[in-house]
Amino acid sequence: MPDRTLITDAQNTWCPGCGNFSIQFSLKKVLESLAEDGVPPEHVVLVSGIGCHAKIADYLSVNSFYAIHGRAIPVATGIKLANPDLTVICCSGDGDAYAEGLSHLLFAAKRNVDITVIVHNNRVYGLTTGQYTPTSPMGFRGRSTPAGTVEEPFNPLELLLASGAGFVARGYTRKMEMLQGLIREGIGHHGFACIDVLQICASYCNLTGYYDRYVYELSGHNPSVFEEACTKAREWDYNRNAPIGTGIFYRNEKKTFEDQFKRDIQRPEERKAAIRRVLESKI
């Protein structure tokens, strides 16, 4: 039997100081804790998009589908639909989830498919060498906007809440213990879960000082009340300076997408008989 470590031999090519290391470490810890609780690693599938975050599919030694830019979420949805017994974790960049694949994020929330989306939100395109993303602050000077962006950022938490997401959380890569907890809670949530993870991009958007100053942990917040979640989500709009809450903003379990499909396994001869019946009805 091969040795089951959770890290592959692939050479890690993230920049020194990259926030992705924290997410990978947290995810590895979560996978270990899942295994202790009876979810063996082979029951986990990791789906990634394209960009620095996506390399996590190479680095973690679990089943994975290294997909294409913006499309991790529909792949994850297809996997969960095909086999609801799998634990499906979807790592996505902010460019993936909030730009190229925004519709998929909102529809996954709407249909409440039981996947856990971790958005590696470094608020910049890193691998394409520094362009603004939907969550870059207004005026962000990137290589495609040398004079600064003229658009306000999205508040992804508000978008998620408006789309019916049943689990909405925000983490920060420099608060690793909390991050592990959020990922674990997100996986445990029966239904769609999204964790927006504020992540440092060491090369193109290093907001360490800013986040260390404004980030705080939610306390006394009741995540089961939708209005309270909306109010808390609006506290910081990803643009102006304001306290940045981290933790679970909203949690509400409801029927999942994949639970509503019948899954009767037909034997081939039953299938042939069903086809014959349909053909006979066409006479």
């Binding site: 297809g78 996997i79 039953e270 069903a274």
Partner: protein
């Protein structure tokens, strides 16, 4: 008479398609082989819809330029189809809506009020009148109504009987003693064929002309044990399908050209990740929105080359419901065996056309799942999703498998599925994917990839693909020339096409396009084309229309 045609027309919302299908079933009941063409503009209510139902002792797949019966539920049916009628045409019309016509007047409104029946039942009244005029026994009509119009049966029968009593036997048609056959649309045949091939899941966003594959499978999901999903757009459709296939479910998607444009990035991902998928691709008049509810054969080049990069693909273009069933089933098996994307390339004519379904066309040789080379499946006990093998086919496992890490990747990858930018590995893995082309060819070329008909000894051949099979077969038969239809288009069965064309001096390609895409493909393989007969007005060729064009070039 051994063959005849009926045109029934009315406004959208009059139930013209169902009326046409009912007539087709009545003719099926008395032993005829049927073909129905449904013509409708893209709107929900109003406009002018019509069906041409043709019945024959022989199997047919095309309409003719004349009709023996004209059934008018609106004035347009009288006014717009004068070219199809003649003095011998029996005209039956709804006198409450048609003001100017000669023929048998049926006061549909009065009959409906007398029976307290809703307006949609007007077509039953006309069908009753038609049956009577054609000398069809009431029993046949009643049986068909009972089997196919369960809703409001007694009212439908009452209004039909009133129509039946008013009309008289104008043109009696012969009752045949042939057995009935299932009457299927191309979309229904594709849906059932996919299921026959072992389909688990069908994912699609609605788009004419393949929406009915989605509707049929959604309606029969429990009966056939298929999971059916309609996501937010075609991008999601394709990617969900790949996720589903990765997790072990045989999955197909359906769309038309515009939707497939959105699917191409996922199609290429299928090629690179070697996660199979089947695409039902129904062509319609293009480019862009084009003419949504009309036909074309203009996406052959698109499908041959869609997607960035190089990867093998299977493309099959069935020409009737028999081929649609058999090859849709085969497409699922081939895609999974060869781990490639497969395309069932059809068009509006076949998708929404209705044909007698002949069971003899259903059987293709069995496609057995692959026995992967037993070499290099693992390394140090680790499963390798992309293990390098002689055939290029690596063993495909689906999560969860204990002690196996199953990694698929759209990025260039090594045997374990881990991203690589190493020159040697990139080259090796590219060769592995291209090797699958040979494997696919071996697999596919053992099947009957080319259909031939007409006069095998003729030195003239009509060459066509897809839905033009029916009309070409009939014209070739009439003119005593050869007919050749490559059914598989990728990998291209060059040897079989050459065999089918051996001894041919003049090769005439028939296609619903303005540039001639099959001639281009044939030219790539050194097969000379002497004439092309092209049609690009959104309507399929009629038998007479094609015959005239062929006579012009011969």
């Amino acid at each position: 008479m051994s063959e005849f045609s009926i045109l029934i027309g009315g406004k959208a919302g009059d139930g013209i398609n169902s009326a046409g299908l009912t007539i087709a079933q009545v003719l099926n009941r008395i032993g005829y082989r049927v073909y129905m063409y449904f013509d409708y503009p893209s709107l929900i209510k109003g406009g002018h819809n019509f069906c041409i139902i043709r019945a024959s002792e022989e199997k047919i797949g095309a309409y003719r330029d004349r009709c023996d019966f004209l059934l008018a539920l609106n004035q347009d049916t009288i006014d717009l189809h004068r070219d199809l009628t003649g003095p011998e045409t029996v005209i039956i019309f709804d006198s409450s809506r048609v003001v100017k016509a000669d023929g048998t007047a049926i006061p549909v409104s009065d009959i409906l009020s007398a029976e307290n029946a809703p307006a949609i039942m007007g077509n039953s009244c006309i069908i009753g009148a038609f049956a009577s005029a054609a000398g069809i026994g009431w029993d046949a009509l009643e049986t068909v109504f009972k089997r196919h119009i369960p809703k409001g049966l007694s009212e439908n029968l009452k209004v039909a009987e009133r129509g039946y009593r008013i009309a008289t036997g104008k043109k009696k048609i012969k009752q045949l003693n042939t057995d009935e056959q299932p009457v299927l649309s191309g979309n229904e045949a594709i849906a059932l064929g996919l299921c026959d091939g072992g389909l688990d899941t069908y994912i699609a966003y609605p788009m004419t002309p393949t929406s009915n594959v989605l509707h049929v499978l959604a309606g029969l999901a429990d009966e056939l044990g298929v999971t059916v999903v309609h996501p937010e757009n075609e991008i999601a459709v394709m990617l969900m399908a790949l996720g589903s296939a990765y997790a072990g479910k045989k999955t197909a998607v359906g769309t038309s050209g515009g939707g497939f444009c959105l699917m191409t990035e996922g199609f290429s991902l299928s090629g690179m990740s070697e996660v199979p998928v089947v695409v039902v691709m129904g062509q319609r008049t293009g480019p862009s929105t084009g003419v949504p509810t009309y036909t074309a054969q203009t996406d052959l080049n698109f499908m041959m080359y869609a997607g960035q990069g190089e990867f093998p693909r299977f493309i099959v273009a069935p020409g009737d419901t028999g081929e649609a069933f058999a090859w849709s089933s085969a497409a699922v098996k081939i895609a999974w065996k060869c781990q490639v994307p497969a395309v069932i390339l059809v068009d509006k004519t076949l998708c929404e056309g209705t044909y007698s379904f002949s069971r003899e066309m259903q059987e293709l040789p069995e496609i057995t799942p692959v026995q992967p080379d037993e070499t290099r499946l693992t390394e140090n006990g680790h499963y390798l999703r992309y293990a390098y093998t002689d055939s290029g086919i690596s063993p495909m496992k689906f999560p969860p498998v204990k002690d196996a890490v199953i990694k698929v990747n759209g990025y260039a990858h090594d045997e374990a599925g881990i991203t690589t930018e190493n020159a040697e590995v990139i080259a090796l893995m590219t060769e592995k994917r291209i090797k699958k082309q040979k494997f696919l060819e071996k697999e596919v070329f053992s099947l009957p990839c080319v259909y031939t008909g007409g006069n095998a000894g003729s030195r003239d051949a009509l060459v066509c693909w897809g839905s033009n099979k029916g009309v070409c077969l009939e014209v070739a038969g009439k003119m005593g020339i050869r007919m050749v239809q490559p059914v598989v288009l990728s990998p291209f069965p060059k040897d079989s096409v050459n065999d089918a064309l051996s001894g041919v001096d003049r090769c005439i390609v028939v296609e619903d396009s303005s540039t001639g895409q099959l001639p281009g493909l044939l030219a790539c393989h050194g097969i000379p084309v002497h004439h092309t007969i092209l049609k690009y007005d959104g309507r399929p060729f009629s038998v007479e229309g094609l015959e005239q064009k062929v006579r012009e070039v011969l």
